[in-house]
């Protein structure tokens, strides 16, 4: 603390904080300034406090107030009007926003899910998916592990799902589950979307159940026309929040579909779930017999 610091504002000397007070103890110049500032403030106070209330002003004021009607109070009727107004506002709000709001990302996933199954895969899309897998290690992808045995892979593509974000679209089908989509999107491409929980959150849209969750820079979306409880059962949780890591079986190539080199192959060797999967830089060319 220097004299210059103290003297930047007179109010620091008039109402000194402990730091300034300590400085004042050892600085004659600042003490003198502080004394002058206090004396001047007192002089101003004296000068301005001289005029008292004019004679009769109080009685004139009381007479004026007496002529006024009783001041408004918080009456029951006023409260009732307030309650009714609030109820009306709530009713309007319920009418306008009563339906559960749909997360735009959830809606995008469902719409994409409904459309993508009707489009035949192409070599280009298969190549895009391969490139994506080359660029992203499967180790980065915590995919739900507890997958129903009756649910079989149909296709996998690199799809534009939500605005500005594209990523693997893993497509499945089951006799009782119907068509199922698992989307994996890079979180960085979804700037406009608020952070999601690591724990899968259920949504309902257009007859579909959707689970979305976020983990380690990836956003996951699971779409199926099943009830929420069943969908949740597919996503195994370890402890509170951790989604089980890479169930590589999900990446098993699909028989009769395009593979990385664009050839349709007959696959013979079965892969044990959780034991073999795509390696960085290459997809297995010999998928399991499903």
């Amino acid at each position: 603390m220097t004299s210059s610091d103290c003297q930047k504002l007179a109010s620091r000397l008039l109402d000194p904080d402990p730091e300034v007070a300590e400085h004042l103890l050892g600085c004659v110049d600042c003490r003198r300034r502080a004394a002058f500032a206090r004396s001047l403030a007192e002089k101003v106070r004296q000068a301005e406090s001289e005029p008292s209330l004019p004679e009769g002003l109080t009685s004139r004021l009381v007479a004026r107030l007496d002529r006024l009607p009783s001041p408004r109070r918080k009456s029951h009727s006023a409260s009732l009007v307030g309650i009714l107004a609030l109820a009306a506002a709530l009713a309007i709000a319920f009418f306008l926003w009563g339906r559960p709001q749909v997360d735009p990302l959830v809606a995008d996933m469902v719409r994409h899910h409904e459309g993508c199954f009707h489009i035949q895969n192409t070599r280009a899309k298969a190549e895009q998916f391969r490139r994506w897998m080359v660029a992203h290690s499967d180790r980065e992808l915590p995919i739900p592990a507890r997958w129903p045995a009756t649910l079989t892979p149909v296709d996998r593509r690199d799809c534009p799902v939500a605005e500005g974000a594209r990523g693997p679209h893993l497509m499945y089908a089951g006799s009782s589950q119907g068509q199922v989509s698992l989307y994996v999107l890079p979180r960085a491409d979804l700037q406009g979307i608020a952070s999601l929980s690591q724990k899968p959150t259920a949504h309902r849209y257009n007859g579909y159940s959707v689970l979305v969750w976020e983990r380690e820079g990836w956003l996951y979306g699971l779409v199926a026309r099943v009830n929420e409880a069943e969908l949740r059962g597919w996503v195994a949780l370890r402890g509170e929040l951790q989604v089980e890591l890479a169930a590589r079986a999900l990446f098993r190539p699909i028989p009769g579909r395009f593979t990385v080199d664009g050839q349709v192959r007959n696959h013979t060797r079965a892969l044990r779930p959780g034991s073999v999967g795509p390696r960085r830089g290459a997809l297995p060319l010999r998928p399991a017999a499903l």
Binding site: R33, A47, P51
Partner: protein, 172 residues
């Protein structure tokens, strides 16, 4: 009547006219009486009354469009007066501050204050005379906290300069 004297003082300072001040004072109390249900228990009643009075005053000024022009005083340091007095130390005596206060009547200080613009005057008086905090002054005047600090600082500086001019003209 609660805080009547302080409120009347403030009204006089704002209006610089006794009859207008009396009118403003009464109207402020009348409004406080009518809207007392809006007063929140536990909050500062004095500050609430000052806020009402200042708001009324501003409304009146707007309706009349006769915002009074004040004499412009160049800004100076908040220690302008003391610095000038110290420069005179050898000429005057050992204690120039004492000479200043002995020779500075209250009328001179009131005159100096009245020459400040209304914004600066209100801020200085609410702080130095009425003892409100910066935050309370910000509420009363309806301006940000930083503006209150700036106005008090500028007001004091201008006041010092005006008092120094008056002191120099005083025959010794």
């Amino acid at each position: 009547m609660v805080h009547a004297e302080a409120l009347y003082r403030f009204a006089r300072r704002l209006c610089r006219d006794d009859s207008q001040a009396e009118d403003l004072f009464q109207e402020a109390y009348e409004r406080a009486y009518r809207f007392f249900y809006q007063f929140r228990e536990g909050s500062n009643c004095k500050s609430w009354l000052f806020t009402i009075l200042h708001t009324l005053h501003r409304q009146r000024l707007r309706s009349r469009s006769t915002r009074q022009e004040s004499i412009s005083i160049d800004e100076a340091s908040e220690f302008f007066l003391h610095d000038r007095l110290l420069e005179q130390e050898k000429i005057l005596a050992d204690n120039p501050e004492k000479i200043f206060f002995d020779q500075c009547p209250s009328g001179e200080i009131r005159a100096a204050l009245s020459e400040l613009s209304e914004d600066l005057r209100s801020a200085v008086l609410l702080y130095d005379v009425e003892g409100f905090s910066y935050q309370e002054i910000a509420t009363i005047l309806g301006v940000p906290l930083g503006t209150v600090r700036s106005r008090i600082s500028r007001g004091r500086s201008a006041l010092h300069k005006r008092l120094w001019q008056a002191f120099q003209q005083t025959p010794r």
